[in-house]
Amino acid sequence: MGLESKLPNGILLTNVERFVNYSRSTSLWPATFGLACCAIEMMTSGGPRHDMARFGMEVFRASPRQADLMIVAGRVSNKMAPVLRRIYDQMSDPKWVLSMGVCATSGGMFNNYALVQGVDHVVPVDMYVPGCPPRPEMLLDGILKLREKISEETFAEQGAHA
């Protein structure tokens, strides 16, 4: 977490909070974390028809160090889970996780030995998007909802989930 963790929480900071949250929520930089079918829809969301750039977040970052939103797009296997956690740990605070699709959310139809039954066993999730795979519109809606959530968060809450 940045400067705000050094500051005491108080009424004077609400405007600062609002300003910081506004900045954070309107320029989310997602990490490219495509896993399966949902990754194709995630790429489509950045494509010309759905055009994520309208919301100021077309810069998919290859390095987790430069990203603050991890879109877990697809099924997470037991083999991938430690890697996923590692990438999450490498992201700098504040960071958010969006679980895209039923497989990432709950294991979905693949209730078996190979998959982690929900990515929330591995990393804390801020927003779930259902669907198999979710349409790009659903992903955009999920991200917009996440932005609303971010803009209402207090510093204390952000510190708690980091």
């Binding site: 896993l35 399966a36 079918c37 790429m43 494509g47 390095s63 890697v83």
Partner: protein
């Protein structure tokens, strides 16, 4: 190339192990005697087509060995299908190679139909062919888009996804889903095509040739595209055969092996089309070949549309046929009121049959079959074992991505490290298919 300090590379026993962090490259240069180094690439890397991990042995900047490490997307689909009925199997297998869902469905259904010894109605076969060929175009478009993106051609990425959307619109109008359709069922199709199906296909056939010509204009004489693809990732016919490589990679090496011609299925023998081949056997030849394949696909669609027969899209046997001839109810959802009246009001047997078919499914005679189809990536084979129950005993999928990936090693050896991206892109592996 990302060096992940914490991930163990596959090192030989006498290899020197160095953990590199930040700027201490000096220590590496001093410690490494013969300039050989092992680098880990992936599994989360922007250029590895999903979650492929590669361990590269480097001599300077030249790759001396490439070890693909897979399994990061292993979903257990084959095992999961063993506890589901035959019809539910389609829903699982369509999610395997998610860029070619209709090929997975068709191959599985062809296997089930072979065991059941039933002949699918002609209309269903023709619709399968049309949708499969559109799927092939969509898959090759994603290949162009992601391949272009990995080489830094963002324009190509935008173009590829732009045209793919139009193809997905067609799929969505027929199956209700953009991907993972489960539209093709054992015995035929889930439902008949819509009234504007032919119209939509015609519109696509009008649009796509112009766009494909655009791609050619953009890339064919583009010096960067040429420099980065020509001579990269060579794979001759003999080596390809030894490594079991099929599909565009084999055809780019001059072998005209295409299962649509060699062992026609779903009525491919009635259509007049060519199996394009190239002799370059490099990444550029594969690019040319995939462009030509899209053209041939459109030739097939054209003929299939012109001769699209009428009639049912599901076999007549009510013990197998999923109740597919249903129109929407007045409320816009649900079943055909006629059908509901029949099973609820007129015939107790029909109701029992409907109930058993939807809960228990039909049984399939015991036996083993292997059914291959030509997917955008090569021979996609379903080896199905049945013991005569309502569930598959075992389904093994021969995934072209999985098999082709073995050749990445021989293709990358002697190439520069920056060309590994091109090698993998020209293989066109889909990790959902590789790991299943």
């Amino acid at each position: 190339m990302a060096i992940d300090p914490g991930t163990e590379a596959q090192l030989s026993d006498d290899a020197l192990e160095l953990f590199v962090e930040g700027a201490d490259w000096e220590s590496v240069v001093d410690a490494v005697e013969d300039d050989r180094i092992t680098v880990n690439m992936g599994p989360q890397h922007p250029s590895t087509h999903g979650v492929l991990r590669m361990v590269l042995d480097l001599d300077g900047e030249t790759v001396t060995r490439l070890t693909p490490i897979i399994g990061y997307l292993h979903t257990g689909i084959e095992k999961n299908a063993e506890v589901r009925t035959w019809v539910q199997g389609t829903t699982f297998f369509t999610r395997m190679d998610y860029l070619a869902p209709l090929f997975n469905e068709t191959a599985f259904c062809l296997g089930v139909e072979k065991l059941l010894d039933i002949e699918v109605p002609e209309r269903a076969q023709a619709v399968r062919v049309i949708l499969m060929e559109f799927n092939r175009i969509a898959s090759h478009l994603v290949w162009l888009a992601t391949g272009g993106m990995e080489l830094g051609s963002t324009t190509m990425m935008v173009f590829g996804f732009r045209e793919r959307e139009h193809v997905l619109d067609l799929f969505e109008s027929q199956s209700g889903l953009r991907m993972n359709h489960a539209y093709i069922r054992p015995g035929g199709l889930a439902q008949d095509v819509t009234e504007d199906f032919v119209e939509r296909c015609e519109a696509l056939l009008e649009l796509l040739p112009r766009k494909i010509a655009d791609y050619e204009d953009l890339l064919k004489r583009n010096p960067i595209w040429n420099d980065r693809l020509r001579g990269i990732g060579p794979l001759d016919a003999d080596t390809a055969t030894r490594y079991g490589v099929t599909g565009p990679l084999l055809r780019a090496a001059g072998v005209p092996f295409d299962l649509r011609k060699a062992q026609p299925y779903s009525g491919y023998e009635q259509y007049d089309f060519d199996v394009p081949t190239e002799t370059g056997a490099d990444s550029y030849a594969r690019f040319l070949l995939r462009i030509e394949e899209m053209r041939q696909s459109m030739r097939i669609i054209r003929q299939a549309l012109d001769t699209l027969p009428g009639g049912p899209v599901m076999v007549a046997d009510k013990h197998i046929a999923w109740p597919s001839q249903q129109s929407l109810g007045v409320d816009g959802i649900g079943n055909d009121p006629e059908y509901i009246r029949h099973i609820m009001g007129e015939s107790m047997e029909a109701l029992i049959n409907h109930f058993k078919l939807t809960t228990q499914g039909f049984t399939v005679p015991a036996g083993q079959v292997y059914v291959p189809v030509e997917s955008p990536r090569g021979e996609l084979g379903y080896a199905i074992t049945s013991t005569g129950t309502n569930k598959p005993y075992r389904v093994h999928v021969r995934e072209p991505s999985f098999v082709n990936l073995q050749a990445a090693d021989v293709m990358a050896r002697g190439q520069m490290i920056a060309d590994v991206v091109v090698v993998v892109a020209s293989l066109d592996p889909v990790m959902g298919g590789v790991d299943r």
